[in-house]
């Protein structure tokens, strides 16, 4: 059967206090969603309004959310989970605190302690220094621990890492990720990016066709690098499975305007939408289902 993305994927930013328009508003939401019950109630409401997917980053609180979903059959059975890894903010903080090398070494030590995830390690951390792919495998396996048992549809590489590898010309890392995820976790591997055009072309150059991509598409052109026109042309020229994100341009544009723009790009069949409040869910989800096809 052909791979199909969920039409509406619930975004996760509001649960973790991320708000690109206002950090103050983000902090308020984080406070509200610090109660797991508020998150679960909101997920039920979103499903009721037509959402079938949920984006989850490997945020420290994701484990708690995953546990609550597993304990709730209605959520467990009705939500396809999209994982975004790694939780970059944590690693940046660790790198600032103890240096990048210490950060990687410590993370690897942690990975080796979790023998239950099946990391075969011979000769300690030193072994990894010679084998870059083993390092990557261990770090991915470690990040995936909290999500065991969930119905995972795609595991995305965080845009910071996708774009860093893209920038450095490390496309073989992207190739590895695309192969490793299906092999190990029986789901698709995908790429979150703020450089849709360059990424799709680079992936095509290494024979990754029909990649699963999550990238900003919005009428304001926000984060559509190098510019919206080029992104739209690339979308037409290359077959992809794309999830549009930042469809409201961090709150700059209203849902009706956002949908008007997305209507012009029928190649996009999936949208990740924040779920900050009941009103917001009703407004955007209804518009998407009515205007962008069932």
């Amino acid at each position: 059967m052909e791979f199909q993305l969920d039409k509406i994927i619930i975004g996760h930013n509001q649960f973790f206090g991320v708000d690109h328009m206002s950090s103050e508003r983000g902090a308020k939401r984080a406070q509200y969603f610090s109660k797991i019950k508020n998150i679960i109630d909101l997920l039920h409401f979103a499903i009721d309004k037509g959402a079938t997917g949920l984006m989850l980053s490997t945020h420290p609180r994701a484990k708690e959310i995953a546990k609550a979903i597993l304990a709730d059959p209605a959520l467990k059975d009705n939500l396809n989970i999209y994982i975004l890894l790694p939780y970059v903010a944590k690693y940046i903080r660790m790198a600032n605190e103890k240096g990048m090398i210490n950060m990687i070494t410590d993370a690897l030590k942690e990975a080796t302690l979790k023998d239950k995830i099946g990391i075969a390690l011979k000769g300690g951390v030193g072994f990894f220094k010679k084998d870059q792919i083993s390092i990557l495998k261990s770090l991915i396996d470690l990040e995936m621990v909290p999500f065991r048992g969930l119905k995972i549809k795609t595991v995305f590489l965080h845009n910071n890492l996708t774009d860093l590898n893209l920038g450095l010309g490390f496309t073989s890392v992207l190739h590895f990720f695309n192969e490793y995820i299906p092999q190990k976790f029986s789901c698709k591997g995908g790429f979150c990016t703020l450089n849709f055009d360059q990424l799709v072309k680079s992936l095509s150059n290494i024979d990754i066709t029909h990649p699963v991509i999550m990238a900003p598409f919005n009428g304001a052109g926000y984060q559509m690098n190098p510019n919206p026109k080029v992104c739209e042309e690339t979308m037409l020229a290359y077959p992809t499975h794309t999830i549009a994100m930042s469809i409201l341009a961090a709150g700059l544009i209203k849902p009706a305007e956002a949908i008007g723009y997305l209507k012009k790009i029928p190649q996009i069949k999936s949208y990740v939408v924040g779920a900050s409040s009941h009103d917001h869910i009703v407004e955007t989800y209804t518009l998407i289902l009515d205007e962008l096809g069932k």
């Binding site: 328009m21 903010a89 210490n102 860093l164 360059q198 690098n225 961090a250």
Partner: protein
């Protein structure tokens, strides 16, 4: 095509390399980095970039036009001098050095050689802060009489490890590693203060300051202050906010939003409130790796080298920022107001 070498492929070195690799006017031809783990990654994943364990080997073997120095701060001075002596254009990550006495030989040499330099004060390229500079300079809110600034993040809640937590290598704590960005921004906006008065608190770090309050004292009627800490709970990302009071209005700016209040009509602004958000101020870039401001900064540096443009945050300017930073430390130690002699 400018050939670039990068010294120190840690977090910032990788970020700049990824950006410059996509600038059509330059090419990353080599990196030097003591860690095998990083060197092996380059060897495995992009063999077009030559790798060196020692930066002096790189400088002698590669024919480079420009060097990005993104190593720990205590190494900046020695490395910058070697690069400038080799007649290279130099980009240095902030701060210039661990203190003024280390920075001085770099300043003097940079003034003798005809090469471009830039110090990585990237906040000047964040859309909201960039527009704030234009608004201040336009005079629409009148003469600036007061400012209050804040820069905070949740990062350090225990004694750190690595070079950043060793004051001999970093030069200090939150002031030199984080607030130096804010000090640069405030000096860019309002000019260099004549005196500073500061106090520190080091609750979490044994030898480094975790909290800093500082007053900037100017000769005229302007007064201002900033607070900075890396030990603030629940601030998952670095947050910077500045409140600016002028004789004809007010500006409230942070990383995401810029609000302007104009008291009496001024140029295109009718008396009243105006607001801009980051998405509406932002424009696309060649590649976005961790923030468009980094891309705009690096692309401007390459353009400035090519077209011989003036760079505001060059080594001489960063030296003045370093003088203010040194005075902040000196004031906290002596518990007295410290004059900044120019």
């Amino acid at each position: 095509m400018l050939k670039i070498g990068v010294i120190g492929a840690g977090k910032m070195g990788l970020l700049h390399s990824a950006i410059l690799n996509h600038n059509e006017n330059c090419v990353i031809s080599s990196i030097s980095e003591p860690s095998d783990m990083i060197l092996n990654s380059f060897k495995t994943f992009n063999s077009k970039i030559a790798t060196y364990k020692n930066y002096e080997d790189m400088l002698s073997k590669e024919d480079l036009d420009c060097i990005y120095i993104t190593s720990p701060t205590h190494l900046h001075s020695e490395m910058a001098i070697k690069c400038l002596e080799g007649n290279k254009h130099v980009f240095l990550e902030k701060p210039l050095a661990i203190n003024c006495s280390e920075a001085k030989p770099v300043l003097e040499l940079s003034q003798r050689v005809d090469r471009s330099s830039m110090v990585g004060y990237m906040m000047r390229y964040i859309e909201t802060f960039e527009k704030t500079k234009r608004l201040i300079d336009s005079g629409n809110i009148g003469r600036i009489i007061n400012f209050n600034a804040k820069m905070q993040v949740a990062q350090i809640f225990s004694k750190g490890r690595g070079w950043r937590s060793d004051p001999l290598k970093s030069g200090g704590g939150v002031v030199i590693l984080q607030a130096t960005h804010l000090i640069d921004l405030l000096c860019w906006y309002f000019g260099f203060p004549n005196k500073v008065q500061s106090n520190f608190n080091n609750y979490y770090s044994e030898k480094l300051e975790d909290f800093c309050h500082c007053n900037f004292i100017y000769d005229d009627e302007l007064t201002g202050s900033f607070f900075s800490s890396w030990s603030i709970f629940n601030k998952r990302l670095l947050e910077t906010s500045i409140e600016i009071h002028g004789t004809n209005g007010q500006i409230n700016v942070n990383d995401d939003t810029l609000q302007l209040y104009v008291h009496n009509d001024a140029d295109e602004f009718k008396a009243g409130y105006f607001k801009w958000t980051k998405p509406e101020l932002s424009t696309g870039v060649s590649i976005d790796v961790g923030g468009t401001h980094y891309t705009r900064q690096d692309n401007f540096f390459i353009q400035a080298i090519k077209e011989n443009l003036k760079i505001d945050h060059d080594i001489p300017n960063a030296y003045l920022v370093q003088k203010v930073t040194d005075a902040v430390y000196s004031s906290a130690t002596t518990k007295d107001t410290v004059e900044i002699v120019n």
